[in-house]
Each structure stands twice: as structure tokens, then as C-alpha cells.
């Protein structure tokens, strides 16, 4: 099994006990994410939709490349690869979701 590092964005660190990086085993992005999900209950559904596809507000990168431009979740991994989960973030001001612009 290939060992990789998965970077956890702040909004999801509640699932990893506050850790910003987690080691996971997997030969593909899908396998590594499955391992991550198995170890941290509830996390995976924030990243993948019901069909198992990456959610529309989340980007997954292997190194600097977006898996959308690679082979998606089937993208093959090498030991030492870093997978980054990068979600859409609204924040700029101190406002709540859906409140006034600016």
C-alpha cells in the first residue's frame, strides 16, 4: 500500500481531533480517502457526495494538480504524495452565512 499525507482544511479538523495532516494508505485518491473516512467518522461525507464523487464545493489536489485534470478519484498515488482538500470558503468579513453582502 502507498502511504500518503492528506491535508485537512480548518473546517474539517473537528473530525480529525484538530490535526491538519493525516497519514493514509491507498494506491489511488479514492482508496486514500476511503482510509481517511474509515479512521475519522463523518469526515468523508463532507468531501464526497452520495454517489462517491467529489462535492462541487470541494477541490482535491495531488501535489499542485487538481484531480479533475488528472484521473479524478482514480488518480494513482506515489509514496509521499500530498493530497489537499480545498473547500470553498465564503468568509471575508464577520458576517454570517447568507447575510448582507460586503
Amino acid at each position: 500500500m502507498t502511504m500518503v499525507t492528506i491535508r485537512i482544511p480548518t473546517p474539517l479538523r473537528g473530525y480529525t481531533g484538530g490535526r491538519d495532516e493525516v497519514e493514509a494508505a491507498g494506491d489511488t485518491v479514492a482508496e486514500a480517502l476511503a482510509a481517511l473516512g474509515a479512521a475519522h467518522e463523518g469526515l468523508l461525507e463532507r468531501v464526497l457526495g452520495p454517489e462517491g464523487e467529489p462535492r462541487q464545493f470541494v477541490n482535491l489536489f495531488v501535489g499542485e494538480r487538481n484531480v479533475r485534470q488528472l484521473d479524478g478519484l482514480g488518480t494513482r498515488l506515489q509514496t509521499g504524495d500530498v493530497i489537499a482538500i480545498v473547500p470553498a470558503v465564503a468568509g471575508g468579513n464577520d458576517e454570517c452565512e447568507g447575510k448582507a453582502a460586503g
Binding site: 482544511p9 480548518t10 473546517p11 491538519d20 463532507r46 462535492r55 462541487q56 464545493f57 477541490n59 489536489f61 499542485e64 494538480r65 487538481n66 479533475r68 485534470q69 489537499a84 480545498v86 473547500p87 470553498a88 470558503v89 465564503a90 468568509g91 471575508g92 468579513n93 464577520d94 458576517e95 454570517c96 452565512e97 447568507g98 447575510k99 448582507a100 453582502a101 460586503g102
Partner: protein, 389 residues
């Protein structure tokens, strides 16, 4: 014969002079025409296309302006004396094909050759922007460009404060501020345009006051309103770029869609606790087409996945870092220098003290900016974001 006259005679013989008309022909063939007069002389007129380097800074500036030592160079002053000394200096620096214009600008003008009255910085502006003027990447032409530029800031809060502060300091001539909020004491931990005595006043008013105090040259247009599909084009019209420092997904998608439609670069920044993201969404970038917000995030997260502001929080300095990165990108685009964050997402993790650069690519099938896309029209953004997931 005085020492000066003797020296001049020697220089005339050793360097060689050309008539203004010959100089014009040389310039048309690719020679650099260097006007070595002082700024107040140049203010009355200077040959079209001349490099106005000034005698005092000639040695320091010429290599940036004319990097090729084999390029023919013609020097010009008011009457043809200073230009001879300047020509000699250039020869010593290593320029091999240098001539001086006999009779200088006086004769140039008398012979009816083309000149222009260049836009120029006044004394106060020269002092204020002197550190910009020293850099060849900005210089007087770049500073004049900044003074002519118009930047719209969406939000006068955590990101907009530092961005607007530095853009005003840099002399971006017109800043538009859109915000419908009033200053709350809890804003002051990071929204540095506002002060304790501005609590309760509209953010755009408070921001305008601070920015004007910093730099009275800058025109501040305030829009105390919430952006929506009906007003966004009226507000964005006439601006060169948008700095997005908004705080919610409906506005982010609305700003994106309008920028795509109007062809404006959108400098994007967002923050969450200790992390920030910066990029430039600009599908119309002439050098390199980049993605739009929708290419990267086709849909916003559903409400249940987005933590409430009360539990989220943000380190006060973090939007400062991210807002200033936005300001840097805005200045680069306005000046046309460097490599803008088009097609790249810069992520900053303050706790790890780590910047990471991700490649973000256009979706050729994007309904808004894709290859065959025609603008689908504005949508109900509140509904779009509320029904996501």
C-alpha cells in the same frame, strides 16, 4: 577660451552631433532618444516617444531603459550642451553608438518636429510616490497609470480594509467601496479602516474618512448598498478590476458572474480562522485564460456544512495578510507586471506558516466562461446558495 568651452569643443569633435531631423529619422529606425532635461523643462514638451531619464539620474536609470549597449542612442537637452556631457557619460558606461542633438529641444520645436506635453506628477505626488518612482517596474509612467486606475472593492471589512488602505497609499486614483453594513465594535479586531469612534456609522463612510486622510489624491466612491443582480453592472461599470472581499456565497457568485460578463479581473480572497485563499479569476486575461469562480466551485456548500460565524471566528491578522495579497495582485495587474495569480490558487495556513500554490484550470464546459458559453443571465443567488447540496 574657458575650460567649459574647450571641453565642449572636444566633445563635439569626439562624440558627434546630429540635427534634430536626423535624430527623428534615427529614432524611427530604432534609436533611443533620451531627453536629459529636468522635469520642469519636460513639462513644457518633449519629443514623442523620448525616454525622459533626466541628467541627474541618467547613469542609474539608463540601463533599465536601454539594456542593449549596441542600440543607437541620441541625447537631447534644451540647447545641445548638457546632452553632449550626457552622451559622454553614456559612452563611458559602454554605449557604443551615441550622438547628441545639436540645438536641443529649442531647435527641435522651431523646426516643427513632433512633441507632446507628457502627463506628469506634481511636486507633492513626486514626494509621496518617490519609492515607486525609483523602481523601473513602476516609475513615473506606472504611477500615472495607477492614478488613472479604478478599483472596486466589494466589502469594506476584514479583507477590504487592508486592501483599500494600501491601494489608496499606492495612489490608485479611484476606489469604489461597496458595503451596506455599519461598524460594530467586534469589527475593530481586524477591520483597520474603522476606528472606535466610528462604531455605528456606515462602513463606507468610515472607510472613506480614513482613506481620504491617508491620501487626499484618491477619489473614493461609496456605495452603501447590497450588491444584487439589478445594481451590479451599474456599480461595476467603468472600473478596471474588482477586489472581492465579500463574506457570503451569494455575493461571491454574483460578483463572479458580473466580472465574467464584463471581462473584469476579479481578485479573490477568502479567510477562515487561520487559513486563507487568494487567486485571480480572469477568463479574459490576455496572456493566459484563467478559470472563473464557477470553474473551481460549481456550487456552494449547503448551509449545514457551512459553520456559523459564531463558531468559526478568524485570527484578526489573517484577513490582513490575505487582503494585502489581493492588493499586490491588483497592483500587478494594473501595472502589467509580474505573474498574476491567474490559474493558480495560493493557500495560506498561518498555523503551519505555509503557503501552497495549486494549479486551477478553466473548465472548457463552464456555462459562464467556457469555450462556447454565452452569458446565461443573472440568477436568484440567494436561492441558488440556499438550495445547494
Amino acid at each position: 577660451m574657458s575650460a567649459k568651452e574647450k571641453r565642449l569643443a572636444e566633445l563635439k569633435a569626439s562624440i558627434g552631433e546630429v540635427a534634430p531631423r536626423e535624430a527623428l529619422a534615427l529614432q524611427a529606425q530604432g534609436a533611443a532618444l533620451i531627453d536629459v532635461r529636468e522635469a520642469d523643462e519636460i513639462a513644457a514638451g518633449s519629443p514623442v516617444g523620448a525616454l525622459r531619464l533626466g541628467r541627474g539620474f541618467l547613469e542609474l536609470r539608463v540601463e533599465d531603459a536601454v539594456p542593449d549597449f549596441d542600440r543607437p542612442v541620441v541625447t537631447m537637452c534644451a540647447g545641445g550642451v548638457r546632452s553632449l556631457f550626457a552622451a559622454e557619460t553614456l559612452q563611458r558606461l559602454g554605449y557604443r553608438r551615441v550622438k547628441s542633438i545639436a540645438g536641443g529641444f529649442g531647435r527641435w520645436k522651431a523646426e516643427g518636429l513632433p512633441f507632446e506635453v507628457p502627463a506628469q506628477l506634481d511636486q507633492a505626488a513626486r514626494a509621496r510616490y518617490s519609492r515607486h518612482l525609483l523602481m523601473p517596474e513602476v516609475g513615473e509612467a506606472g504611477q500615472l497609470r495607477l492614478l488613472d486606475a479604478r478599483v472596486l472593492l466589494v466589502g469594506a471589512g476584514g479583507l477590504g480594509s487592508p486592501a483599500a488602505f494600501y491601494l489608496a497609499a499606492a495612489g490608485v486614483g479611484t476606489l469604489g467601496l461597496v458595503d451596506d453594513d455599519v461598524v460594530d465594535r467586534s469589527n475593530l479586531q481586524r477591520q483597520i479602516l474603522h476606528t472606535d469612534d466610528s462604531v455605528g456609522t456606515p462602513k463606507v463612510t468610515s472607510a472613506q474618512r480614513t482613506l481620504q486622510a491617508l491620501n487626499p489624491d484618491v477619489t473614493i466612491n461609496t456605495f452603501e448598498t447590497r450588491l444584487d443582480s439589478d445594481n451590479i453592472e451599474d456599480i461595476l461599470q467603468g472600473y478596471d478590476l474588482v477586489v472581492d472581499g465579500s463574506d457570503n456565497f451569494p455575493t461571491r457568485y454574483l460578483v463572479n458572474d458580473a466580472c465574467v460578463k464584463l471581462g473584469l479581473p476579479c481578485v479573490h480572497g477568502s479567510v477562515y480562522r487561520f487559513e486563507g485563499q487568494v487567486t485571480v479569476f480572469w477568463p479574459g486575461c490576455p496572456e493566459r485564460r484563467g478559470p472563473c469562480y464557477r470553474c473551481l466551485f460549481p456550487e456552494p456548500p449547503p448551509a449545514e456544512f457551512a459553520p456559523s460565524c459564531a463558531e468559526a471566528g478568524v485570527l484578526g491578522v489573517l484577513p490582513g495578510v490575505v487582503g494585502l495579497l489581493e492588493a499586490v495582485e491588483a497592483l500587478k495587474i494594473l501595472l502589467g507586471i509580474g505573474d498574476p495569480l491567474v490559474g493558480r490558487l495560493l493557500a495560506y495556513d498561518a498555523l503551519a506558516a505555509r503557503f501552497t500554490d495549486y494549479r486551477v484550470e478553466r473548465d472548457p464546459h463552464c456555462a459562464w466562461c467556457g469555450d462556447d458559453a454565452s452569458f446565461p443571465g443573472y440568477i436568484d443567488y440567494e436561492h441558488f446558495c440556499a438550495s445547494a447540496g
